[in-house]
Symmetry: C2
Subunit: 330 residues, 2 copies
């Protein structure tokens, strides 16, 4: 029994030291947003509360780009795709004369993207398909461990919002299961979601390409095909949630019109629900953009949030710090 | 602190009472199959073992039909579909003269299925599409609570294998996350997977139809479209696992050739792995079928199991009881 007793004591100490006992959300200023989150969690977890929700049904969904990590000056996954095309160019001499690759390799990003969505599609497919899932995993792992954000010079995986990490931890400490539901590529995000967000790969929902099972020298692999399977954005988000989770979330976090349907879907079920939008209004510490932005446009969802009383977070006034590295040297 | 202390004491008592401390797999006879499972679990969970696997990576996948519950004389989901068509017939006068519905409604199942896969497809689509996911959930819930197996007269949800329920519990008590990976419909299985197997909806992977997000009177719903989205069988199983879980299982349980690729996929990663096939060889207590069967054919996978030393369970000799109701009156 001795070893068992030791483990029990250790479990108790860990429990007492867990965030559940500490003051929640230390990087949040006191205000309506923080209060709204804390009261929601109290109401759905207190036994006997009329809003009580059983732990198995405490599903919280988070958009990624612009909600958990930054998305300016461009989606980080696009930076990955561009870096991959450059790295793969020696194996593709034909790209020297073929758009959008020719412009891209000359350093003319604007020219490369002039072809619009089809051009972006070609860049994404060239960098995300034609290899096995294991090979893709490795290229993302190598990239995310080294590539740096053009403005801050920090690793992309450091460009995560400290207050949102605290929300993820706070919800999990209160029996929630946290999911990422993002327009980003599911196999891209899964490489770092567990380490960076504490969200295991099986709780990441995203856009995806088709896969093909193959035996290569008798060894089973999955090959990434250059064909879209599912786009997890806008109307796709509730669909992705249903396909993957099979029940409605009780809390949903987003930052743009791409998250509107996910918040509507969450709001529509009976009981107390939390719908939250992060508003990027801090040009100094991060970026300021909303109705007019091409990336992370916040327009219709903002109006609906105001009309329905959903929580809108001001990064400028609700968050004490945005990135964990603030105040530290690069 | 008093309330907290009470909870701690309760947690400890629950921990001590948990299956982890009891003798595992009581419905299994001692033998190579049971020993193989127990040794595998010991090896991958003992710290310091060369085969140790971190809890987050302890993924176990289970086929459903023929592995967790029975599949004879026909897949239970087909029985559901037939019952639905009969119940919906008054709203579909045109079915009286339209095959496969006309034969089906006259009680001529053989005639109805004479049209082969297209006929089955029409029956499945009529019973599984054209309604919201909430509506479908309710029809399955009503059916599974009342419909009975033609041979035993028991509820279909009682036709589950007691020894496999013990494996599910034993693995979870040892830090595994258990998933269902079945050719059956994902939204069909999710209705009862948590209650019957202890597997929450988000850990059920199956075949699915396309979904469409709609606002009905301002209320968001998901409509089930009469179009296949994904078939989670054979080569589809590793694909479904990758789409949904994003890492390779370390244990896989099946019973037919439809599970072969899932077992191959599990076997191929480095480290100690458990691949197990249930062989239906007990005509008296259940059903006996393998190489020649139209349902749950076990042929190629059986040969590969023999060649590679995977575990093959004889229901007749490895299981003390098959159903929990054995020895009780109906």
């Amino acid at each position: 029994m001795e070893e068992k007793m030791k483990r029990l004591v250790l479990s108790i100490l860990l429990l007492l030291a867990s965030p559940a006992w500490a003051q929640p959300l230390p990087s949040w200023n006191d205000g309506a947003a923080k209060q709204g989150i804390v009261e929601f969690v109290k109401d759905v977890t207190a036994k006997g509360s009329k809003d009580y929700v059983a732990p198995a049904e405490r599903i919280a969904v988070f958009d990624n780009d612009g909600t958990l990590w930054a998305e300016q000056p461009a989606y980080f996954q696009l930076a990955f795709a561009l870096d991959r095309v450059k790295a793969m160019a020696p194996q593709h001499p034909e790209w020297k004369t073929k758009e959008p690759f020719a412009s891209l390799l000359k350093g003319d990003l604007k020219g490369a993207l002039a072809g619009g969505e089809p051009a972006i599609g070609q860049i994404v497919m060239a960098s995300h398909a034609g290899m096995t899932t294991d090979e893709f995993d490795k290229t993302v792992r190598d990239w995310i461990g080294a590539a740096k954000h053009p403005k801050t010079g920090r690793l992309y995986s450091q460009m995560v919002y400290q207050p949102m990490l605290e929300v993820l931890r706070y919800l999990r400490a209160n029996g929630f299961k946290t999911f990422i539901v993002s327009g980003g590529g599911v196999e891209f995000m899964r490489v770092f979601s567990e380490r960076v967000y504490g969200v295991p790969p099986e709780q990441v929902i995203g856009s995806s390409g088709k896969l093909k099972f193959e035996l290569r020298d008798g060894k089973p692999v999955l090959v990434k095909l250059p064909e879209i399977d599912f786009i997890d954005d806008k109307e796709g988000k509730p669909v992705g949630i249903q396909k993957h989770i099979g029940r409605r979330p009780i809390a949903a976090f987003g930052n743009s019109d791409g998250d509107l349907q996910m918040l509507q879907f969450t709001a529509a079920s009976a009981g107390k629900r939390l719908m939250l939008l992060v508003h990027h209004d801090d040009a100094e510490r991060e970026f300021a953009y909303d109705r007019q932005s091409h990336i992370g446009k916040l327009d219709k969802a903002w109006d609906e949030a105001k009309a329905k009383g959903w929580t809108v977070v001001s990064m400028k006034s609700d968050w004490k710090k945005i990135f964990s590295f603030e105040g530290t040297k690069q």
